[in-house]
Structure formats: C-alpha cells, structure tokens
Subunit: 341 residues, 4 copies
Amino acid sequence: MDRLRVAVVGAGYWGPNLVRNFSASAACDLRWVCDLDEQRARRAVGAYSTVGVTTDVDKVLGDDEVDAVAIATPAGTHKALAIAALEAGKHVLVEKPLASSVAEGEAIVALAEERGLTVMCDHTYCYTPAVQRIRDLVATGTLGDLQYFDSVRINLGLVQKDIDVFWDLAPHDLSILDFILPPTLAPLAVAAHGADPIGAGHPCVGYLTLPLPGGAIAHVHVNWLSPTKIRTMVVAGSRRTLVWDDLNPSQRLSIFDRGVDLHVPQDTEAKREILVSYRSGEMVAPALHETEALQNSVSEFAAAVREHRPPLTDGHAGLRVLRMLEAAGRSLAEGGRLIPL
Amino acid sequence: MDRLRVAVVGAGYWGPNLVRNFSASAACDLRWVCDLDEQRARRAVGAYSTVGVTTDVDKVLGDDEVDAVAIATPAGTHKALAIAALEAGKHVLVEKPLASSVAEGEAIVALAEERGLTVMCDHTYCYTPAVQRIRDLVATGTLGDLQYFDSVRINLGLVQKDIDVFWDLAPHDLSILDFILPPTLAPLAVAAHGADPIGAGHPCVGYLTLPLPGGAIAHVHVNWLSPTKIRTMVVAGSRRTLVWDDLNPSQRLSIFDRGVDLHVPQDTEAKREILVSYRSGEMVAPALHETEALQNSVSEFAAAVREHRPPLTDGHAGLRVLRMLEAAGRSLAEGGRLIPL
Amino acid sequence: MDRLRVAVVGAGYWGPNLVRNFSASAACDLRWVCDLDEQRARRAVGAYSTVGVTTDVDKVLGDDEVDAVAIATPAGTHKALAIAALEAGKHVLVEKPLASSVAEGEAIVALAEERGLTVMCDHTYCYTPAVQRIRDLVATGTLGDLQYFDSVRINLGLVQKDIDVFWDLAPHDLSILDFILPPTLAPLAVAAHGADPIGAGHPCVGYLTLPLPGGAIAHVHVNWLSPTKIRTMVVAGSRRTLVWDDLNPSQRLSIFDRGVDLHVPQDTEAKREILVSYRSGEMVAPALHETEALQNSVSEFAAAVREHRPPLTDGHAGLRVLRMLEAAGRSLAEGGRLIPL
Amino acid sequence: MDRLRVAVVGAGYWGPNLVRNFSASAACDLRWVCDLDEQRARRAVGAYSTVGVTTDVDKVLGDDEVDAVAIATPAGTHKALAIAALEAGKHVLVEKPLASSVAEGEAIVALAEERGLTVMCDHTYCYTPAVQRIRDLVATGTLGDLQYFDSVRINLGLVQKDIDVFWDLAPHDLSILDFILPPTLAPLAVAAHGADPIGAGHPCVGYLTLPLPGGAIAHVHVNWLSPTKIRTMVVAGSRRTLVWDDLNPSQRLSIFDRGVDLHVPQDTEAKREILVSYRSGEMVAPALHETEALQNSVSEFAAAVREHRPPLTDGHAGLRVLRMLEAAGRSLAEGGRLIPL
C-alpha cells in the first residue's frame, strides 16, 4: 500500500516529536512542517532535511500530495485548523485536548463523519505498552471489580497563560481512564477543587474526583508547582491492584495480589459480624517491551486511514474527555459541587 | 522532682507502645496497665514485669498513687473514661482522636479546665523530629508563603467496623496540619469525598480538600485498600518546598529550592504579559536525630503536668481536629459540599 | 516440656536484643543478665523487671537453674567464656563470629562434642524469612546453576578498635553464603583487598572475592565509611536471579526471570558462532511474613537443645566462617593473593 | 569561524548517536556517514537527509572537504582507521577504548603528534554535567582527602564475542577515575577478578581493585549478567562523600556531609586511645543542568581542533585507560595478582 503523506502543523513543544516519529515511520511520508515561525519549523526537521518547511498553512492544505494533517498547535486553534483541513479533504490527527470546548469538538467530529474522513485525537499515553496492558488486565477481569483509580501527575511544569492546570495536564489522566474503563463503568460525575497560590489567574494545583458506577471512585491530582515529578497511577480491583509508575523504566507496572475481602454472613442475626480478611500475596512486575508511544500512535493513525476504520482514540474519545473537562470547570465555578456527566 | 505516676488504660493496638515508652521514661513511673482482657494487659508488660495488671479501671482510678491516666481505648469510650479520670483527680493523656464528637471533646476539655488538670491529646506525629522541623521551617518563613499541603496516608490497613477511614487515619494529617500552620492560616472549610467499594458500610478510601486563607489549599488522601504503603506529605511554599517521606529513614525530609515565580508588570498595558520564572535550585536533606516520637510525647505530658502549663497538643488542638472531622462527615453526607469551619 | 533456662552474658550492643527475645520466647525462661557494668545489665532488662542482674559470671555459671548461656561479649572473650560455660555443663549460644581464630573455635566445638552439649553460633541473618527463602530457591533449583553472588554491606559504621571491617561485618555475608550454598558449592579460595584511608590501623573498607566451583564467583563489599546504608545481596542463577534488599521492608526479595543463555553449536565449524539469547521476563516479589530473625534464632536454639540435635547454624558453620575470615586476613597480608580454602 | 566538516565512520551501536549530535551541532558540518552496511548508514541519517552515505572509507578520506573523522567501529579496527585518517590529514575522534592495546594506542598518538593533528578519545561520561561537577568537587578540596571510589556498572548487557566485560564496560569507570583524580593520585596498581559462569570464553562478571596513593582505594564492578541496571559511583572523602546515581535524573548527585574522623592523641601513652568521631550532617543534591554529554563532547572536539589545543580527553587520557585495562588482563591471567601501573 502507499504510504500516508503527512504534514505537521505546529512545531512548538509537541510538534518536533510528531516530526521525528512520522520521519521514522515506514507507513508515512512526511511532506511538510508548518509553523508561524519558519526557524522553528526548520529546527524541527533539522539542518540536513529534505522535508518542506513553510509558514503558510494554505500551501499545505492546497497540496494534493498531502493526505493527512497532524495538528500540534494551541488548543484554541484546533477547531479552525481541523475544520479547514477536513474541508480540504485531509484526515486529521489532533493533539490533546481535541478542542477548547465540547461544542468545538463536536463540530470537528460532525464534519469528519460527513466527509468520511478520519479524526484521531492523539491521546498518546493510550499507546504506551503500560496502558495497553492495564486495559487488558481490566478487560480480562484480572483485577476483579474496580475499586478505585488514583492518578498523580505533578511536577514543576510550565505555567500556561491561557489554560489552567486541569486543561493542561488532566487530559492525560482522563483519556487513560476513558481508555481502560469499559463503557459500563464510565464516570458518573465530576467534582473539582483547585488553587492558584501564585496568582496566575487560574488553578495551578488541582484535584478531580469522579464517582464511578458500583461504588468505585477515580481521583486525579494535577499540579504545576511540585518540585518533584510524579507520574503514578493506581488501578485497584477486588482481586488485584496495579501501580503504574511511568518514571521507573525498570519496573513501570507492579501488580499486587493484595487486598481486603469482606464476607457478610447470610444469617441476619450475625449481620453485624462482618468478616474481613486480608490477602497479602506476591507482587508481579510483568516484562513490557519499550516502544515509544508516539510511534504506536502514528502507526495507528496510518492504519486507521488505510483500513477506513475509527482509530483506537477517535474523535468520540476526544469528546468524552472534553465533557469531563467542561464539567470540571463548572464544578470549580460552583465551589466543588459534583456535576453529573 | 517526683516522677509522674501513670496508669495505661487499654492494651490493644496502641497501648503496648505507651507501656513501653512510659517504662523507658525517667520522668514517669508506670503503675498499672488496665484492659478488659487481662492476658492482653499482661502481654503488654511482659512476663518478667513488676507493673500491676488489672481489668478493673476503678481500682486504677481509686489508687492515690496514680497521678495520671493514659487512655488508649476505642474513641467511643474516650469521653466516659476521661471524665471519670478527671473526676478522680487524674491528669489525662488521650489517644487520638480526642473523642468521637466535638460535643464529647468539649465536655472533656471543660471539666479539665474546671478542675485545673492537664488534658493532652496524643497527636504522636507532632512529636517526631520531622514535624517539629517542618513547623520551624514554616514559622521562620524559610518556606515563604504557603502554597499547598498534600498528604498521602495509604496502605492495606485494618478496616474498622465502627469508624470510617477519615476518623481512623485523617486525625494524623489534620493534627499535623493544625500543628504546623500558624492560627492565621487555619483551614477555612472542608470538602470530603469517599468510596466504599468493598461494602464495609462507610468510606474505605477518602479525599479531603481544605481551602486555606490566601489562596493556598490542603489535601489529604487516606486509604485502607492500597497494596502499597505511602506516608508522604508535601508542604509547598513560595520560597521552598519540602517533602516528608516518613518511610524513608535515611532521608525523611527533602527541602527543594525550586519553584515558580510570577511577576505581574505594574504597567496596565503590559498586564497580560505575566512573566513566569522558574527556580531549579538544589535540594537539601537535613540531618534529623532519630528519636521515637512517643518518647517525646510522654516526656511532654510529664513536663506539662509538672510545669502546670498546656502541653503542645492540648485539648484545644484535639478539638480543632474533631471540628474538621465532623465537618468532613457533613460534607460527605452532602455530596462533597464545602463545609465552612 | 520445660522451658530452657537461660542467662545472657554481655549487655552491650547485641545483648539487649537477646534479652528482649529470650523474654518474649515461650520456650525460654530468662534467669540472668550478666555484664561487667551492672547499670548496663540493668538497662537491658528495664526498670520493672524481675530478671536477675549481676556482674559475676561465676554466679551465673554456678547456678543449677541455668541450662544455657548466651554469649554476647567481644569476640576475643568468646573462647574463655564458652569453655567455662561448657565445663559448667551449660549449652551455649555464641554471638558471631564464633571466636577470634579457627583454633579457638575448634576448641569450643571439640569440648561441646565431648560433653554432648549444644553449641550454636548466632548467625542471625540465617533466621530471616528472606534468607530462608533464598536457601529454598537455591536448593530446589529454582535459580538454576549459580552464576554469581554479590553482597554489599556498607554504612557509616562504628569503627572498631580491635577488629577490622572484615571481622566486624563480613561474618554476616559469609554465614549467609555458607547457609544458602550446598556443600558441593563451598568457596574454593578467598582474595581480600582493603583500605584504611583514615588511619584506623586496619582496613575500614574491604572487598572479598571467592571463586566457587563451576565458574561462579562470590564477592563481598564491607565498608564502615559509607554515608549511605546499603544491605543488598544478589544471587544470580542460570534460570533466575534474585535481589535481596534488606532495607526495603515492602519488597525485600525480587526474583527476576531475566538472564543470558549461551548456545554453543555442536558443529565444530560453527563453534565460533556462539549464539547468545536474552530472557527478559517478569519479576516476582514473593510475600514474606515479617518475623524478627532473632526470635527464630532463640527458638531454634531452644529446640536444638530440647531435641538433642545440631542447630541449623551449629559450631561447624561457625568454624567454616572463621576459616574464610582467617584466609582473608592472610590474603590481605600477601597483597590480595588468592588463598585456597 | 568555519564549521568543522566531519565524517562518521561506523553506524552500529554508537555511530547513530554521533550522527545525531554532529547534525545538531552549530560548530560542525556533517558530510558523510560510512559503514560496511549501506542500509545501516542510511538508517543512521534518516530517510529525509542530505548527508552523504557510503561504504567506501577511502572516498571519505579522499574528500578534501572533510576536516575530521569520528571513528565508531569495533576497537580492533581503531588503529588502522585512525592511522589512515591521520595520514590523510584528518583530525580524529575515536570511540572508547582508544585501541585494542597500549602499543596500538601509542602508534595513533605518536602519528597525530608528528602531524600536528588532534586526537580525542570519546570518553563520553567525562562530558556529563555530573562528572564535571565531581571533578570540580575533588579539585577544590570540597570532598577533602579522597578515601575510596566505588563504581558499579551492571545490567543485562550485550555479551560481546571479541572482548570481555572489562574491555566493554570498565573504560567508562576508568576514564572517569582518570578524569576526576589529580595526577598525583593516579592509581598505583590493578588487581582483577572475573568469572565466566555462562561459558562465553571470557569474563562476564568482573571486579577491579586499584590502590591509590595515600591509602585510598578504587573499586569497579562490571557485569553483563545482572537483571537490574545500576550505574552508581561513590567518591568518598575525608570532608564529604558524594554518590552519583546516573539513572536517577531527578537527583543524580548527592553530597553527604557525613563521615568518620579519627583523632590520634599526641601523647605516646595515650596512643592506643584513638578517638573516633562521627559527622552526620545534611545531604545536598545540587541542581545540574541536563545536557547530553555527547553534545558537549562533539563541541569540545570542534573547539580543540579550532584552537589547536589538546581536548580534555586527549590521546594520552586514552592511553592511560588502555594501560589500566592491559594490567587488569595480566592480573586476571595471574590469579588476581596486583599489577603495578
């Protein structure tokens, strides 16, 4: 099959990673890198590259030799760029979050469906071997019934001017949550608490709580002000609990055969005498192959276009994440009230 | 001066620690260990001990050679025992939490003040070298303005039948918060979210959020269902941020000279151009002497009685913690609503 | 059966641990604690104890109500005390190392065998759940053929005046090595290198290398001058490799299914083309119960006496360790030459 | 000034890193990548590159537009390639080790000096911010008198067919040791012990001991069979001790103000009463900027050529490392005997 001919728009923080991975992909042919700053686009491809560099996005969209556009610009520009690309007949890969509001995201998804084009949201973490393993462990029942999900994503981060810490960091956690949970366990509501102790104008430290069906709970801590960097996620189940530490390359996943079992006696008389037992079994750290998530992500994008099928993280996944972010914003404005999803 | 003659009531989980520390204290003379289960009281003192063992608390309270009683029984019994001890003219050291409600706690404190007797709440962590150092670092301005406080206290814990995870574990975090914050920074409100995924009848996983004056925030994660044990507290300030890891004896405290500084230009025109700068300086792990907190705690109790002064963690500290716990319970009942303190 | 009536001689660094464990043992009855410094003996038993305290070892040895003596004095005094105790008809438990020379150790063992009394060397680590598990894993072939054994035991330690770092710390590593290896894999020789950069008069930093049968090797690093404390041992085999980190209570043992396999082709022509393959499988951290090693050790002593059988770490184990230490001393004197065992 | 026009010879394991760093260097102009396997050379530059690719080294050496050649081929070919490059008037950067024997290395260095050309040995670790800081800390006396140096470099590594684990891994440790020690503290001798438990034909596990002047000692553990990856180096001094953990990006260097001080009384009578005191002060982890060592290395190469000065790690540094490796080989052959340097 022919290779997917791709242009990358946006060569700021994430764009160079897309450039590098499209360059290395046998399934793709990188044609253009476009940025308002030509020097930045040039740096992204390197001094010895034959890939085209431009500041003119219309030149890219007007090029018949371009099949698809990867958008790595600020979220506020996603809608206009994606709509323009779709109207020019290009498939689109959009950096997370899909757009800066649910309404904008819906416009993108609707147009793509109308035109029969692929929209993929680059929820990169969903393409890590760790998250794919976690999804399997949940799906196969290895973890048992889900009990809680606790994610911490903190470090001394770039304080953004236009978006708060929830919109900057939580798309990662929420897209992973969306990816690993079966639809029947989708979050029921969101409560958000934030703080802006440095006067940035919006929260720099934030906490999300999401009740799940069946008594489980998800919680997310995002933080731009932490001197230490932590990327840890716990997915606890009735049979096993896993801890994912993304900063420990030698042991990213640890699966614990430990937990608490409750036995409520049938006998009504004895009901007060709940029996609690504790399992304190072994821990297993499975071997994961180390592949760069973004390489898997661009491969999935190329394959989805080729096979005319929705990618694993399609526009609807992007929309579900936007809905959680919007609800979090409303909760924040209402003093932490639980907002139903 | 004469040594403080002490009786320990309750030889369950915590009592034996009190027994050991009163035994080793040069300022105290341990007279009795009292428990409903005589064997348990005997085990607490050991086979070769001359300390008296009894199941009869009245025998203890009636002994004129007893100056003070340390109460290490379930929280629901604290009020009755403390009141009886105070009425018998004994000073009391009460295990945390001070009582099972604010009203009960107030009764204890009122009676003690009426009788001129000492009430101390054994907020043990406040007597660790680490927390005492943290308090100093806050008080001397070394950390600068407080930005956030994040505490995680999770492990595969004993699921309690009568109290939830907030009442079981959060007294530690809240008493530390109360201890290190100056009164002007006392929490303004509490929101609580919890989950009971195992059907225990009350939350086994819980999160507390407490807005502080000046835009700062405190957050606490308590959890009985975690396969890993974590005891970490971050106290972040505008000048420095410290991380306390109580399970790392070789480096409990790490003080980071890292942070985010925001410079809002005076010029109105330029206001949108907030300047953000990042400090990424060194980390210092101070040397702490390793002394058992409970040894410091029993010394403080003996000294406070001897010197007729309130102990560092007096009844009022216990009451402040109870108020936060009660408000958390109300928040929980009202879907996570922020409850003012 | 009757309880073993025990006296502890020596209440310095290790003696109080023996006192505590004998006190807590249902199989033993602690009668005496003897030390040249009466106050020190008193502190070891505590202020409220009924156990006898004396400075007169003859009083202890002359007491018919004493069945056994535990010797926790400096190594140079072990021989005289053990001989005296055996002559008084007492069983003996001797702190490691068994004596300060092979000749002295042989005298102790010979007399005990002549009198039909038990001699146990308190190689405490052999009674940890971790080392017992390691021994099982070696014995059952789970690790495959042993490849190397690497032990690191370093910290800012008490610089001893009379013995070097090898005699102070290496008995631990060597006794563990002796305990986990089958007799057919006993070390063939020892080379020792040391340094005394502070002018203590003997090595404060030391390295031991011990070739084992079949091409394997054991190596030990002991060090009094390290600012960090490390207690790690790797036992590598052709099938699995385990890492024991004694300072990580939540994961002391990690068993890796990783390794290198070499396939030498049968075909002579192809011999140069050795095929190397790598296994990179999962890691399992087994659940270990946490029991204090010394509690197991005193139980084993009592059981061995009662059952008239050699204890797990008998006098001969103590002698084998002494032979390695003596050979290390000779190697050190001869510039690191390999000394056959 | 004009940019240094460079060719990379060898596109196997390390060559692509050189290609990437020369490509990114403003001081260099990458002209050729040469490898016996053209596809491999092509992969090193990427599909979109304008850099020349060839299998013919003579074409590279005959190109007048090439000023310098970077050699990243197996050590056994270094001499012939470096000699050919020097004879063609090119400066050379040679991958570690400089050559496969001292004699070969001397031939390279001699020819370069005769022709007035630059020879640099790519001891990459010497260009890490961590090692440069360590060198400063030693040079400024911050650590005090050196006491010991302990390096561990172990992981499940590629078992080499032509060279043993010492020649594969120890050049890193020895080049760092050579770099941070002042000439007056150069190692006096080497003893080596190794094991080949898998039948590879040469040691796969190895230990080096190097006595240093003044009673200090250096020790190196290299190992291809370890399931865990460790890259730790301790540099201990009388005033401070540092630990470098290269796998901990958030805290690579830790400087401990801990140690042992010995006070030998002047009074002859009291000489036996050596006084030992212990410092247990704070630990400081300095902030290090994160720059890729190889970027610094290629910059140093370009600067040394431009400024007609020896690079930091010149041919003589490469020779000193070769002398230690050869002595280690002799020690190995003689049962671990100390071989003077």
